[in-house]
C-alpha cells in the first residue's frame, strides 16, 4: 500500500494532487508519542490513526528513527515536530503530506493576470491531466512472450504547439534514461512491470506517468510549457539531464532563452546566445564566425536540417542568418560529437527547422529596427502533415540613411532569409520531411559595384521504424554558398568576380535498441564541387580578360558505428567510430613540386591533367568518439570524452575573421586534411534539487595541418595557391565553468572560460616559418572570458534581462618600427600576435513586456526594449595603421562603440 502511494504521488504533478480530495480526518487533538520508532513505522501509525496520508520514497526515510512526542493544533505543526530531527522537508496539501529530501518544494504564486477560472482552459487541462494519472497499460497482455525486457517508444511533444520536443530526457524509474531524437522520438528497453516514466525538458513542466508495461509498446507524451502554472507545486526531483547524459560539452540553445538575451539592433540571434556560453568566442563585435574551444572559424559544422550552411551570417556577421522564429532546436556540440557527424574539427551547430503545427493554422511575426519577419504554420493533414515557412528581411535601410556620409547612404544593404519545411508523420514514429533554406546579402560598394553572397540548403529526410527495435534514418541534402562582386565603375574594366561551393550529401543510418544498448550503424557520403574563383568581363565595353580557376571536386565518405551503453544505472559509455575517406577527384590539372623543397616557382616540376573521376589524392583515417559518464551521486557525475576528427575542406582566409572574399579549398596532394584530437573531462553537479546546474569542464586539443599563409599570400584567383599556403600544428586547452539557475524569478547563468590556443609553423625554410617556428597565440585567443546572463521575471508580463561580458583582448600584430621608402612611411611588423588589444567589456539590458496570457486571446505579443552596450564603451575591435600624407598614423576601431537602443515587437497567433 505504501509503495503504491509513493509511486502515485511523488511523480504526479501537483495539479493532480489538488484535484484528488482524499479523505483524511481532521479532528484534533493531533498527537504522537514515539520512542526509537523507525520513521516508516511512525508514519504508518499516523496514517492508521487517519490523521493524514504521507507520500514519499522509501530510501528517503529509511535512515531515520523518531523519538519524541507532540500534541498540536495543526497538522503542519505536528509534521514539523515529527520531522524536526530529520533532514526531510514537507508540503501539506489538505491532509496530504508530501515528504522530500531537499527543500525544493515551493508554492508558486498565482499569476497576476490569470482571468477568472470559469474561462480558463487551464482548468480543462487539469482535468485532462487527471485522467492521465491512471496507470497506463502498455502492450498487449496476450502476447506470447512474457519474460525479458521490452521496448517502450514514443514521441514527446509540446501540448501547446504539438511540436516534437528534441532532447527531452525520458527516464524509467530513474534507472533507464534516454533523450529524444530530432523527431522527438525516444526508445527505452525496460523490464516488464510497473514503472514510473518521467519526462523533462527545460522550459516544460515535468511530466510523470505511472505505467505498467506488458509488452513492447508506444506511449506518446505531451508536455506543457512551464509558463502556464496555477498553484502548481513543482517537484523537480529528476531534472538532471546535464548530469545524467553521457554526452558533454553540449549546449542547447533554447529558443525561449533568446527572448531573455538582450539583442543587437533588436534581432533575436542564436549566435549571441552561443557567444554567452563558455568555450564559444569570436574575434569581436560584428565578426563572422565562432571560435569554439580554440578552433578556427572554418572548423564548425553548421547544419540547417542536416544541410551545411557555409556562411550563416548576415551583413558580414552582425546577425546570424537563422530566423529564430522557425528554428525548432539548436544544439552546439563542443565535444562528444556523435559518430554520425564529421568533417569539421571543432564543433557542430545543429539547427533544426521547427515542424509546422499539425493542429491549427498559426503564425509568428515581428518587427525590429533592422528587419521584419513573418512565419506561418499550416496543417495540411490534421495531426499528420504540416508546412512551415518563415521569411525575414531588411524592410528599410533607414538606419544607414541616418548616416551623413554619402557612401553609406548609397550602400543600400539588403538581406533576407527564407526557410520552408514540410513534415509528414504517418504513424509509429515514421516521418518524412523536406526543407529548403536560402539567405542572401547585398551591399553596394559604390553606386556602380555590388557585393553579394548567398546560401542555399535543401534537405530531405525519412525516418522509418522497421520494427520496434530497429529504426532507419535517411537524409539527403544539398548546399550551395557563393559570393559575387560586380564592378563597373570603369566600363573598360567592368567585371564580375566570384566563388562558389556546392555539396551534395546523403546519409543512411540504422538505430538498434538492444537491452541497455543503443546501437547505430550507417554511412554517409558527400560530394563537393568548388569553383575557386572566376573573373569575367561584364557589359559590352569591358576589356578585361576572362579568368577562371579550375573547378575542384572531392568525395568524402564515412562509415560509422556507435553504441550508447548504459552499463549500470551509474555508468554509461558511448563508443563511436567513424572511418572517413576522402578523394580529391580529377577533371582538373594539378601542380607538382620537388619534394623536400618549399613550394614555389623554383621547385615547380610539372602540371598533370587528371581526367574526370580519376583520383588525384586519397586520404582516410579513423575518427574515434568516446564518452563516459559515471554518476557519483544522484546529483553529480563525472564525465570524460575523447574525440578525433578529420577535416577535408578548408577556408582560405588571410584575415583575422571571416571576410567577404574567403573561399574554401578541398584537400588534395598539396593540402593535407586538418586533424584534431580532443580530450575532455568534466564534473557536473546539480544543486538545490536540480534547480541549479554547475559544471566544470577541462579540455586539451591538438591540431595538425592547420592552414596559414605566407605574408602577402595572394588568395584571389591564384592557380598556384599551394605556393602561398603553409600548414602547421597547434594546440588548445582550457577550462569552462558554468553555473546555471534554471528556475525562479531570477534565473540565468554565469560562465567563465579560461582558454589558450596556440599554433606553430616551423620549417627549415624561412618562407614557411612564422615567428621563427615558435608557438604563438591565434588571432582569437582570449584567455579569460566571463559571461553573465540574468533574467528577472518581475511579473508574468514584465521581465528584465541583463547580459555582461568581459574578455581579455585578442592578440594583434603590432608594429615594431617605421621606415621610409619611396618617400613614404611604412610600418614594420615582426612577430605575429605578440601584443593584445585592450580588454573587452559590455553590458546589455532589456525589458520584455508580454501581452496578456489568456489562452483564448486571439494573438499573443510582446515588446522588447533593449540597450546594447549600455556603458557605451568603445571596445577596440582592431588597431591598424594607415599612411596619411606620407606619415603613418594609428587608428583604433570600435565597431559598436556606443549604446544602441532598440525596440522589437513580436506577435504570434
Amino acid at each position: 500500500m505504501r509503495d503504491w502511494k509513493m509511486n502515485r504521488i511523488i511523480f504526479a504533478t501537483m495539479t493532480l494532487l489538488s484535484v484528488f480530495k482524499l479523505a483524511c480526518q481532521d479532528q484534533p487533538p493531533l498527537q504522537f508519542d514515539f520512542r526509537n520508532t523507525p520513521l516508516l513505522q511512525a508514519i504508518g501509525t499516523l496514517e492508521e490513526q487517519g490523521i493524514c496520508n504521507f507520500y514519499f520514497q522509501d530510501h528517503w526515510i529509511s535512515d531515520y528513527t523518531i523519538t519524541g512526542q507532540a500534541r498540536t493544533e495543526t497538522l503542519a505543526d505536528l509534521i514539523s515536530t515529527l520531522l524536526s530531527s530529520t533532514d526531510l522537508h514537507f508540503v501539506l496539501i489538505g491532509q496530504k503530506v508530501i515528504l522530500t529530501p531537499t527543500p525544493i518544494i515551493q508554492t508558486l504564486e498565482v499569476g497576476t493576470d490569470i482571468p477568472d477560472e470559469s474561462q480558463n482552459p487551464i482548468l480543462d487541462q487539469r482535468m485532462i491531466n487527471r485522467e492521465r494519472v491512471e496507470v497506463l497499460q502498455i502492450g498487449d497482455k496476450d502476447e506470447n512472450e512474457t519474460v525479458g525486457p521490452v521496448v517502450l517508444s514514443g514521441i514527446v511533444r509540446s501540448a501547446e504547439s504539438n511540436q516534437p520536443i528534441v532532447g527531452a530526457l525520458v527516464s524509467i524509474d530513474r534507472k533507464f534514461s534516454t533523450t529524444t531524437d530530432p523527431q522527438g522520438g525516444y526508445r527505452l528497453e525496460v523490464p516488464r512491470g510497473f514503472h514510473e516514466l518521467i519526462v523533462q525538458f527545460a522550459g516544460m513542466k515535468l511530466r510523470s506517468q505511472r505505467i505498467e508495461i506488458l509488452a513492447d509498446g508506444e506511449l506518446h507524451i505531451e508536455m506543457n510549457e512551464e509558463a502556464i502554472q496555477l498553484e502548481d507545486i513543482m517537484i523537480s526531483a529528476t531534472e538532471d539531464e546535464n548530469i545524467s547524459d553521457v554526452r558533454m560539452g553540449i549546449a542547447t540553445l533554447d529558443m525561449e532563452q533568446l527572448k531573455n538575451v538582450p539583442k543587437v539592433l533588436g534581432e533575436n540571434d542564436i549566435v549571441q546566445v552561443a557567444l554567452a556560453l563558455p568555450g564559444v568566442q569570436n574575434v569581436g563585435e560584428g565578426a563572422s564566425g565562432l571560435n569554439v574551444r580554440g578552433g578556427k572559424t572554418d572548423q564548425n559544422l553548421m547544419l540547417f536540417n542536416n544541410a551545411t550552411v557555409y556562411n550563416p551570417f548576415h551583413f558580414f556577421g552582425f546577425f546570424s542568418a537563422f530566423n529564430a522564429d522557425v528554428i525548432g532546436t539548436s544544439e552546439l556540440y563542443k565535444s562528444s560529437i556523435p559518430a554520425s557527424y564529421g568533417g569539421r574539427l571543432s564543433s557542430l551547430l545543429d539547427v533544426k527547422l521547427k515542424k509546422g503545427n499539425v493542429q491549427k493554422f498559426s503564425g509568428k511575426g515581428g518587427i525590429s529596427p533592422v528587419t521584419g519577419q513573418l512565419s506561418l504554420e499550416v496543417p495540411l493533414i490534421k495531426e499528420k502533415m504540416s508546412i512551415i515557412s518563415g521569411i525575414r528581411g531588411t524592410y528599410s535601410d533607414w538606419l544607414l540613411n541616418q548616416v551623413k556620409d554619402e557612401t553609406i547612404k548609397n550602400s543600400d544593404p539588403s538581406f533576407f532569409d527564407v526557410a520552408t519545411g514540410i513534415h509528414l508523420d504517418y504513424g509509429n514514429g515514421n516521418t518524412v520531411y523536406a526543407s529548403i533554406y536560402h539567405s542572401r546579402d547585398r551591399f553596394k560598394v559604390t553606386t556602380d559595384s555590388l557585393y553579394s553572397y548567398q546560401n542555399l540548403a535543401a534537405s530531405l529526410g525519412w525516418r522509418h521504424a522497421i520494427s520496434k527495435r530497429l529504426l532507419l534514418q535517411t537524409t539527403l541534402t544539398t548546399s550551395q554558398y557563393a559570393f559575387d562582386i560586380d564592378y563597373d565603375v570603369v566600363a573598360e574594366e567592368a567585371f564580375s568576380y566570384g566563388f562558389e561551393v556546392k555539396e551534395t550529401y546523403g546519409q543512411l543510418a540504422l538505430n538498434y535498441f538492444l537491452n541497455q544498448h543503443e546501437l547505430q550503424v550507417g554511412f554517409d557520403s558527400k560530394l563537393y564541387d568548388v569553383l575557386p574563383g572566376f573573373f569575367r568581363p561584364t557589359g559590352g565595353d569591358s576589356q578585361v580578360l576572362e579568368e577562371e580557376i579550375e573547378r575542384e571536386r572531392g568525395l568524402e565518405s564515412s562509415f560509422f558505428v556507435s553504441d550508447d551503453y548504459a552499463i549500470s544505472s551509474k555508468l554509461t559509455l558511448y563508443t563511436g567510430l567513424r572511418f572517413s575517406f576522402f578523394s580529391a577527384l580529377g577533371g582538373r590539372s594539378a601542380n607538382f613540386y620537388e619534394p623536400g623543397q618549399p613550394r614555389s616557382e623554383d621547385s615547380f616540376t610539372e602540371t598533370i591533367s587528371f581526367p574526370d573521376h580519376k583520383t588525384i589524392q586519397k586520404y582516410s583515417g579513423p575518427e574515434v568518439r568516446l564518452s563516459l559518464k559515471y554518476s557519483t551521486s544522484a546529483y553529480a557525475s563525472i564525465k570524460a570524452s575523447y574525440s578525433k576528427s578529420r577535416q577535408y575542406i578548408h577556408a582560405l582566409s588571410n584575415n583575422v575573421s571571416i571576410s567577404p572574399t574567403d573561399t574554401w579549398k578541398l584537400s588534395d596532394h598539396n593540402f593535407k586534411p586538418q586533424l584534431s584530437d580532443q580530450f575532455s573531462i568534466g564534473y557536473f553537479q546539480n544543486l538545490k534539487d536540480n534547480e541549479i546546474e554547475a559544471s566544470i569542464e577541462a579540455y586539451y586539443k591538438t591540431f595538425d595541418n592547420l592552414l596559414d599563409y605566407e605574408v602577402g599570400a595572394d588568395l584571389i584567383l591564384n592557380p598556384n595557391l599551394e605556393t602561398d599556403v603553409i600548414q602547421g600544428e597547434g594546440f588548445a586547452y582550457g577550462a569552462e565553468l558554468l553555473i546555471k539557475k534554471k528556475k525562479g524569478k531570477l534565473n540565468g547563468w554565469m560562465s567563465y572560460t579560461y582558454s589558450r590556443s596556440q599554433q606553430s609553423f616551423d620549417s627549415q625554410f624561412v618562407e614557411e616559418t612564422i615567428n621563427g617556428g615558435a608557438h604563438f597565440p591565434t588571432n582569437f585567443e582570449k584567455p579569460h572570458d566571463i559571461s553573465i546572463v540574468a533574467n528577472y521575471k518581475h511579473t508574468r508580463r514584465f521581465s528584465f534581462s541583463m547580459n555582461i561580458n568581459y574578455s581579455t583582448g585578442r592578440p594583434i600584430t603590432y608594429p615594431t618600427a617605421k621606415y621610409e621608402l619611396s618617400g613614404t612611411e611604412i610600418v614594420h611588423f615582426s612577430d605575429r600576435n605578440s601584443f593584445r588589444l585592450p580588454d573587452y567589456f559590455r553590458i546589455d539590458l532589456s525589458v520584455n513586456i508580454e501581452g496578456s496570457h489568456r489562452v483564448k486571446k486571439l494573438g499573443h505579443s510582446y515588446w522588447s526594449f533593449s540597450i546594447y552596450n549600455l556603458t557605451a564603451r568603445k571596445n577596440v575591435y582592431s588597431i591598424f595603421f594607415a599612411n596619411n600624407g606620407g606619415d603613418i598614423e594609428g587608428y583604433e576601431l570600435s565597431v559598436l562603440g556606443t549604446a544602441i537602443p532598440s525596440i522589437t515587437y513580436n506577435f504570434k497567433f
Binding site: G284, G286, A287, S288, F316, G317, V403, D405, I408, S411, F443, V445, Y487, V490, E492, E493, Y497, V544, L545, E547, N654, N655, I658, S659, P660, Y709, V711, G712, I770, T813, T816, A817, K818, Y819, E820, L821, S822, T824, I826, V827, H828, S830, R832, S834, K874, Y877, F880, F881, A882, N883, G886, D887, I888, G890, Y891, E892, L893, S894, V895, G897
Partner: protein, 405 residues
C-alpha cells in the same frame, strides 16, 4: 597572365571604407613597444644617364619622425657582363651613381653594400626591364559643392598606358606635381638690414627677388602599383592623384609629371604588399600583417632582416600642365579665391628712416609692401604678414624650366 587583383582590392577598399564609417574610428598615438633596428635599402637604377640612386637608412621608432641615414657605406652595382659601377654619397645616406653610368635594358645587375661596420649586403640579380610608355595623363573636375563653397570639388588625375609590350605587365608609378601660386599682397621691397632695402623687380634683371608668384612641388606619398588589365596589356583610367579644390592649388596652373617603372612580378608583389600594409583600412576583415622582405640580404648573416628592394627598370615619364580654365566646362570656378586669405593692410605711420628699427622688431613676421610718401596716405610703411606677401614661404620663386607660360 593578366591579373585583376588590384581592381578587386580597390573595390574592397571601397567596401571597407564604407563599413568603417559605421563604426567608430579614433586616431591613437603609436606606442613604441619593442623596437627592431634594421637596415633599409631603396635602390633603383634606370636606363637614363646617371640614373641610379641608393638610399640607405635605418628603421626608426614609432613615435619618431625621421629615419637615421646610414652614412659612409660603400655602395656599388655589378653587372652580369662584369662591370662594376660605384656610387658616391652625395647627401647623408643617399648614394648616387656616376654620370657615366647608363643602364642597359636586358642586362642583369646586383647591388652590393658594405657598411661602415663591415657588414656585407647584396641584392638578388635583377634584370633591367623595359617600361611601356604612358599614353596620356588627364584630369577631370568632380564638382562636390559644400555649404561653404558651391564650386568645391576635386581634380582627379588619371593615367592611360595602353601599349604595354609583352613581358612586363606590372608597374610602379610616381608623380611630381608643380603648381603656381600667387600671394595676394606681394612685397615690393626687400629689406637688407638697417635702413637699406631693395626694390623687388618683376620681369627685370632680378627675377629671383620677386616674391609674388612661386612654384611649389608635391610628390606622391603613396606607393602606386598597377598591373595590366587590358587584353592587349596596359591599363586605362588608373587614378593616380587627386587634388581638392580647397587646397587652392589650381588657381594659376598645375603641372603634373607621372613616372612609370616596370616591375618584375617579384618586385610587384613586394611593392603591392607594402602598399596594402600601409594604405589598407582595417575593419572586420583586416589583412594579416607581417614582415615584408625584399630582395636584399646580409651575405654573412642570412637571418638578419633587411628591408627594402633593389629595382632596375626603364624610366618613362609624361608631363601635362593644366590651367584652371581647362576645367571651366566641368563646372570649376575660382570665384576670386586667393591662395591665402589675408586681413586688411597694416600701416605704420612713421618716417622711412625708422624702417631699420621697425624691421628689427618685426622683420620675422612682416614684409614691406610699399612705402607711402604722404600723397595717398600719410607717410609711412604699408606692410603685410609674410604669409600674405612672400610666396617663398610656400615654394620657389624661380620658374621651373618645364613651366609653360
Amino acid at each position: 597572365m593578366l591579373r585583376t587583383k588590384t581592381i578587386s582590392l580597390n573595390v574592397f577598399q571601397g567596401l571597407t571604407i564604407s563599413l568603417i564609417l559605421l563604426g567608430c574610428l579614433e586616431r591613437v598615438e603609436l606606442n613604441p613597444l619593442d623596437f627592431d633596428n634594421l637596415l633599409v635599402v631603396e635602390g633603383l637604377i634606370t636606363n637614363q644617364t646617371g640614373g641610379g640612386m641608393v638610399k640607405l637608412s635605418r628603421t626608426f621608432q614609432l613615435d619618431q619622425d625621421n629615419p637615421e641615414p646610414v652614412e659612409n657605406a660603400l655602395v656599388w652595382v655589378i653587372s652580369a657582363s662584369g662591370d662594376s659601377i660605384n656610387f658616391t654619397e652625395e647627401r647623408p645616406g643617399q648614394y648616387q651613381v656616376g654620370s657615366g653610368f647608363t643602364g642597359s635594358i636586358g642586362e642583369r645587375y646586383k647591388l652590393l653594400i658594405s657598411s661602415s661596420e663591415g657588414d656585407q649586403y647584396a641584392s638578388d640579380w635583377v634584370e633591367m626591364i623595359n617600361t611601356p610608355p604612358i599614353d596620356s595623363v588627364y584630369a577631370f573636375f568632380d564638382l562636390k559643392p559644400t555649404t561653404i563653397n558651391g564650386n568645391a570639388g576635386s581634380f582627379n588625375f588619371f593615367v592611360d598606358s595602353r601599349s604595354a609590350q609583352s613581358g612586363n605587365q606590372h608597374y610602379r608609378l610616381e608623380w611630381t606635381a608643380t603648381y603656381e601660386l600667387e600671394v595676394p599682397n606681394p612685397s615690393r621691397f626687400q629689406w637688407l638690414g638697417g635702413n637699406d632695402f631693395i626694390a623687388r623687380e618683376f620681369g627685370g634683371d632680378n627675377p629671383e627677388l620677386q616674391v609674388q608668384i612661386c612654384w611649389q612641388t608635391d610628390t606622391s606619398s603613396q606607393i602606386l602599383v598597377n598591373e595590366s588589365v587590358l587584353p592587349a596589356g596596359g591599363f586605362a583610367e588608373f587614378p593616380v592623384h587627386s587634388v581638392d579644390s580647397e587646397s587652392r592649388k589650381m588657381l594659376r596652373g598645375y603641372s603634373i609629371e607621372v613616372t612609370q617603372y616596370a616591375l618584375t612580378p617579384e618586385s610587384f608583389d613586394y611593392w603591392s604588399l607594402l602598399a596594402e600594409s600601409t594604405q589598407q583600412v582595417g575593419f572586420l576583415f583586416d589583412q594579416q600583417v607581417g614582415t615584408v622582405r625584399g630582395n636584399i640580404s646580409n651575405i654573412t648573416n642570412p637571418d638578419e632582416i633587411v628591408l627594402g628592394i633593389f629595382d632596375a627598370a626603364e624610366k618613362v615619364s609624361f608631363r601635362r600642365q593644366y590651367h584652371p580654365l581647362d576645367f571651366r566646362d566641368q563646372g570649376y570656378r575660382r570665384n576670386g579665391q586667393k591662395f591665402v586669405d589675408c586681413a586688411d593692410q597694416e600701416f605704420l605711420n612713421s618716417a622711412p628712416d625708422s624702417l631699420g628699427y621697425f624691421m628689427d622688431q618685426y622683420g620675422e613676421e612682416y614684409e614691406i609692401a610699399f612705402f607711402s610718401e604722404g600723397i595717398i596716405a600719410p607717410p609711412g610703411i604699408i606692410y603685410f604678414r609674410k604669409e600674405c606677401s612672400n610666396c617663398t614661404l610656400y615654394g620657389s620663386n624661380q620658374q621651373p624650366g618645364f613651366w609653360e607660360n
